[in-house]
């Protein structure tokens, strides 16, 4: 898990709970508190663009890497590095900007774009009322 904020920590906890061996990385050491007192996975403080840190976190043996820092561009670069340099089998990243999300998804990155999902859902919610008033 690169990025242990609201989303990253929640994903880490769920996967850890279902038996995954998880190492979380965050620039802020306070992020560890999000993982709770019973966290038995790994936690490293540092920037996801630091190759030494990534190796220390075990990226060379990882089956999956999830990238959810608060910077779209960082996520995009780290995701590509995980895929192309370390050949991690499953790489998933969050990108908030729909434009960049679409561009990089077309280039073979697995991307989750909460913004696009929100837009779709909100539009559908309002349009659902169209049938009622018709």
């Amino acid at each position: 898990m690169i990025g242990c904020g609201r989303v990253g920590s929640a994903v880490a906890l769920q996967l850890h709970g279902s038996g995954w061996d998880v190492v979380a990385v965050d620039e802020n050491e306070d992020a560890l508190t999000r993982l709770g007192e019973h966290w038995t996975g790994g936690f490293l403080v540092g920037h996801g663009m630091d190759l030494t840190l990534l190796r220390e976190a075990g990226i060379e043996e990882a089956d999956a890497v999830v990238v959810t820092t608060d910077g779209d561009n960082s996520n995009i670069v780290i995701g590509q590095v995980a895929q192309q340099r370390f050949q991690v089998p499953t790489v998933v990243l969050r990108v908030l900007d729909p434009g960049r999300a679409q561009f990089y998804a077309a280039r073979g990155l697995r991307i989750v774009c909460p913004t696009s999902a929100a837009i779709e859902t909100l539009v559908e919610a309002v349009r659902a009322t169209e049938q009622v008033t018709a």
Binding site: M49, L51, N73, S74, I76, Q84, D97, G99, R100, F103
Partner: protein, 220 residues
């Protein structure tokens, strides 16, 4: 030439000024409003405000033309990487140049095929090492796409080449000695130049030949 520059700090602003003076068309993208105001005062419509990693900002700055050259000169290496990738692969820009802020990020630019890159820190470090030579090899100039580099080494005492004419030295294929500096005096190297311990030697070589060159010029 139409040039798009991302990042209106000292590097971007000075580049813009120089290119305009040379007669080129330039658009400069800057995100920070206080900085943009200063740039707009000088460059007027040639300055665009926004985040250069957003597609709509790039399009507003004319990336669909496309520009002949895009320079990613922001203070963030991740942003510079993304700008170059988008410019090249989404908009078909032929030539991109990226600034590297933190030399440790060089491998990322290399991995993603972004070249050429300019690292101010890297260049200054090389010059510092040139001024204060220690044993070892200094990278002065790398031409990544051409796979060549120019390096500098100081000949060691007890090295394989000490006291020999360059013509008699077994240099690796793909390496050539360019010049020799001894006691502050420089001479262009040729087969008759004799190498002494302490000589600062400039060499041009193909990538990957460094270790072979070290074995010849340095003590082992």
């Amino acid at each position: 030439m139409y040039v798009l520059i991302a990042g209106g700090g000292k590097v971007g602003a000075n580049l813009t000024r120089s290119l305009i003076r040379m007669g080129h068309e330039v658009t400069l993208i800057e995100q920070r409003s206080y900085r943009y105001d200063q740039l707009e005062a000088e460059f007027e419509h040639q300055a665009v405000r926004g985040d250069a990693t957003e597609l709509y900002v790039l399009e507003r700055a004319g990336i669909k033309r496309p520009p002949d050259l895009v320079v990613a000169a922001t203070g963030d290496d991740e942003d510079n990487i993304v700008i170059c990738q988008i410019a090249r692969e989404k908009y078909g820009v032929q030539k991109v140049i990226a600034r590297i802020n933190d030399p440790r990020n060089q491998p990322y630019f290399d991995l993603l095929g972004i070249s050429p890159t300019v690292s101010a820190t890297g260049s200054i470090m090389a010059l510092i090492e040139h001024e204060v030579p220690e044993h070892g090899l200094i990278h002065l100039l790398e031409l990544r796409k051409e796979n060549l580099e120019i390096v500098e080494l100081t000949v060691d005492k007890d090295s394989a080449c000490e006291g020999k004419r360059i013509g008699a030295v077994r240099l690796p294929a793909g390496a050539r000695l360019i010049s020799v500096v001894r006691d502050g005096k420089a001479e262009i190297a040729d087969a008759e130049t004799q190498l002494e311990a302490g000589d600062q030697v400039l060499a041009i070589l193909e990538a990957g030949k460094e270790d072979e060159l070290r074995r010849v010029l340095l003590r082992n």
